[in-house]
């Protein structure tokens, strides 16, 4: 699982989307609270300002300057503004020394925008019946404070929502991701041809389980079809072998009991040889089925590959000599033991050597090697014949496939298929490589997947 996969999961994206919607909602809520509170506070301040004007003017023109001075002195918090001006606008008293310019003198509280007063402050100017102008203002500190509180709350809760949301999204995504990983693991095994693999289905019956269930049903079906195809092939091979054997018995009797001579004799012998060739192919087909069907773990035992290779070479040595091909060995004596079926491995290597000998021209060489890789021992059979073009290498592992120029050679064309089946049974891998020149077939004797 890569970190980049995390933010691509559905739970992660859903959680983040919910988080964003939640943040917008919080913003709207806070904004509305601020709006309402600020409105209310403004009205309160306006009330304060109006009543202040009333109380200052109660004593009439005579006492006004004195009251203004007293009020300034009494305002220890320094949140009130007072200014008394003559009818011409000349300062008489108070802590405001000039009238705010754009403020109409009409006794209605307004927002004051003067550089020396706090922005957002409220105030009013009123002309007294005797001509003087009184200005009273109230600081907007409360409003500013309120705004600061709201913004701070927003920043804090928003940040927290963001962090918590991301964390929750990650946690929520991890579990499905782990399940997806398990699904991927199982699918990979199935892709590599492991039979009987199914995707894990949990008891939750959620959407992933639904998909896994569908995939499992598909795998059931394809496996069933595979078996059907295989068993058809095998049954055909088996059913045809019986009449073929009878045909062969007849031909054999003809060749034994009649006094044929010359071309007739030759024709019967050829017919017999052709029948044998057919039987060989059917036997090979059945053999593949047998190996594939088998659950032969019980026959696996720790074994030395060295002796298998030596025996195979001994079996094929005369044949190599007849063909004028040098059969060389290079066997690592320190190769570790493997758990395998010795008779099947003998069959596999024998097939590989047989193939290599067939495709090597006179004077060529076939090399049987046993090497040690970090993952385990590796059997290599290489020839310096024409080789197999890279494009055809996959195809030669298929049943009956034969490289065009080798069609004249006798044989079932199933040798490599048998080797493939044996390798698969052991969970070994078979690799076809360029031996430059020639073909090298390698049997990696370690469980598939180790190198991945």
């Amino acid at each position: 699982m890569r970190p980049s996969e995390l933010w691509r999961t559905t739970p992660f994206r859903l959680t983040m989307m919910y988080g964003a919607v939640f943040a917008v909602a919080v913003l709207a809520l806070m904004g509305s609270i601020y709006q309402q509170t600020a409105g209310y506070l403004t009205r309160q301040i306006d009330g304060i300002v109006v009543s202040e004007v009333r109380s200052l003017t109660l004593g009439g023109a005579e006492h006004l300057p004195e009251r203004v001075t007293q009020a300034v002195a009494a305002d220890t918090r320094r949140i009130e503004y007072y200014g008394l001006f003559s009818a011409e606008g000349v300062w008489i008293g108070g802590n405001v020394h000039s009238l705010p310019p754009a403020l109409p003198i009409d006794g209605v509280p307004r927002a004051i925008r003067t550089p020396n007063l706090q922005p957002g402050s409220r105030g009013l100017a009123e002309r007294m019946p005797w001509g003087e102008i009184l200005f009273v203002g109230h600081d907007a500190l409360v409003l500013t404070e309120l705004r600061t509180i709201i913004v701070r709350a927003l920043a804090f809760s928003g940040g927290l929502a963001l962090v918590l949301g991301a964390a929750a999204a990650a946690v929520l995504s991890l579990r499905p991701l782990r399940r997806i990983d398990r699904l991927r693991e199982a699918s990979r095994a199935a892709l590599q041809g492991e039979v009987g693999v199914r995707l894990p289905v949990s008891r939750r019956r959620d959407e992933i389980d639904m998909l896994a269930g569908v995939a499992n049903a598909m795998m059931d079906e394809s496996e069933r079809l595979l078996w059907e195809v295989k068993s058809v092939g095998e049954n055909v091979a088996h059913d045809l072998r019986t009449p073929l054997n009878r045909l062969r018995a007849l031909l054999y009797r003809v060749s034994q009991e009649t006094k044929l001579a010359g071309p007739e004799r030759e024709m019967v012998d050829r017919a017999l040889a052709e029948t044998d060739e057919l039987l060989t192919r059917f036997r090979a087909l059945q053999r593949i089925g047998e190996i594939e069907r088998r659950d032969r773990i019980a026959f696996f035992e720790p074994m030395r590959l060295q002796s298998v290779l030596e025996h195979v070479v001994e079996l094929h040595e005369p044949s190599a000599e007849d063909r004028g091909v040098d059969l060389a060995t290079d066997i690592a004596q320190d190769a570790p033991e493997v758990r395998a079926d010795p008779t099947l491995l003998f069959e596999a290597v024998s097939n590989l050597v047989d193939n290599a000998l067939k495709f090597t021209p006179r004077g060529g060489q076939v090399r049987v090697r046993l090497t040690v890789r970090p993952e385990g021992p590796r059997i290599e059979v290489a020839d310096n014949g024409p080789g197999v073009p890279e494009a055809e290498r996959d195809a030669v592992l298929h049943r009956f496939y034969r490289v065009e120029r080798t069609r004249t050679e006798p044989g079932s064309g199933l040798g490599l298929s048998i080797v493939t089946a044996i390798a698969r049974l052991h969970h070994f891998t078979l690799a076809l490589e360029d031996a430059k020149p020639g073909l090298r077939v390698a049997l990696n004797c370690w469980p598939r997947g180790v190198e991945a």
């Binding site: 060989t280 053999r287 003998f346």
Partner: protein, 225 residues
């Protein structure tokens, strides 16, 4: 001539066995039922038993086991449609002497039966002789017409197997199974090459040939007439 008992539930195969063995000079009694077959086998009238592995009623394996439990040591050749190695091993372990999978070439059946009968009747010997060919089983030395023939270990095993069954057709499969001990198809050519090599050692120029290729069947070693 020895009498053979064939226990086989499939009528076609049963009749074929009887016909083929008659050609090879055997008198064969065919029994389709497993229980009856076991009774007949216990009678001691037969030289060998051909036994189907899968029978209705009594299983072929059970019949071999019962025979061996009774101390009856006649050769048993098991035949079966199950060609799996596991089945072969099970059959041989139960006391069978040889195992063939159906369908089989009928002359292969006769050939195998001959080998089984020969094996039982063979007295322990230190030297095998066919015509002027001699094989010392202890020193592993072979002589023909007084001249020594050098043999590789595999060649010794091959020659011993052939000489023990001289005058008898040996199929390539039988040779491969007996000498190399494996039960897969090694390709006809492979065995032919080994036999060719053996022939060059035994039938030197100027000597009468002893190793004969039997068309469509296999090989045979016999003394020159």
């Amino acid at each position: 001539m020895a009498k053979i008992l064939a226990i086989e539930d499939d009528a076609t195969t049963g009749k074929e066995i009887v016909a083929e063995l008659a050609q090879s000079g055997f008198e064969t009694e065919w029994v389709a039922d497993g229980r009856e077959g076991l009774d007949r086998a216990l009678s001691g009238d037969f030289a060998a038993v051909i036994l189907d592995r899968l029978l209705p009623g009594v299983d072929g394996l059970a019949i071999v086991t019962a025979l061996r439990a009774e101390g009856i040591d006649i050769p048993v050749l098991m035949i079966s449609a199950l060609s799996d190695v596991d089945e072969r091993i099970r059959g041989l372990r139960a006391g069978g002497d040889d195992y063939m999978t159906k369908p089989f070439a009928s002359e292969e059946l006769a050939a195998r039966l001959e080998v089984l009968l020969r094996r039982r009747s063979a007295a322990p010997r230190s030297t095998l002789t066919v015509g002027d060919l001699e094989l010392d089983l202890f020193s592993r030395a072979a002589h023909r017409a007084g001249a020594e023939i050098r043999l590789m270990p595999t060649e010794f095993k091959l020659l011993e197997f052939m000489m023990r069954n001289s005058g008898q057709v040996l199929t390539r499969t039988m040779i491969f199974e007996a000498i190399w001990g494996y039960h897969f198809d090694p390709g006809t050519n492979l065995i032919d090459v080994h036999l060719g090599r053996m022939r060059r050692k035994i039938d030197r120029p100027g000597l009468a040939p002893m190793i004969h290729t039997i068309r469509g069947a296999g090989y045979e070693i016999r003394a020159p007439e």
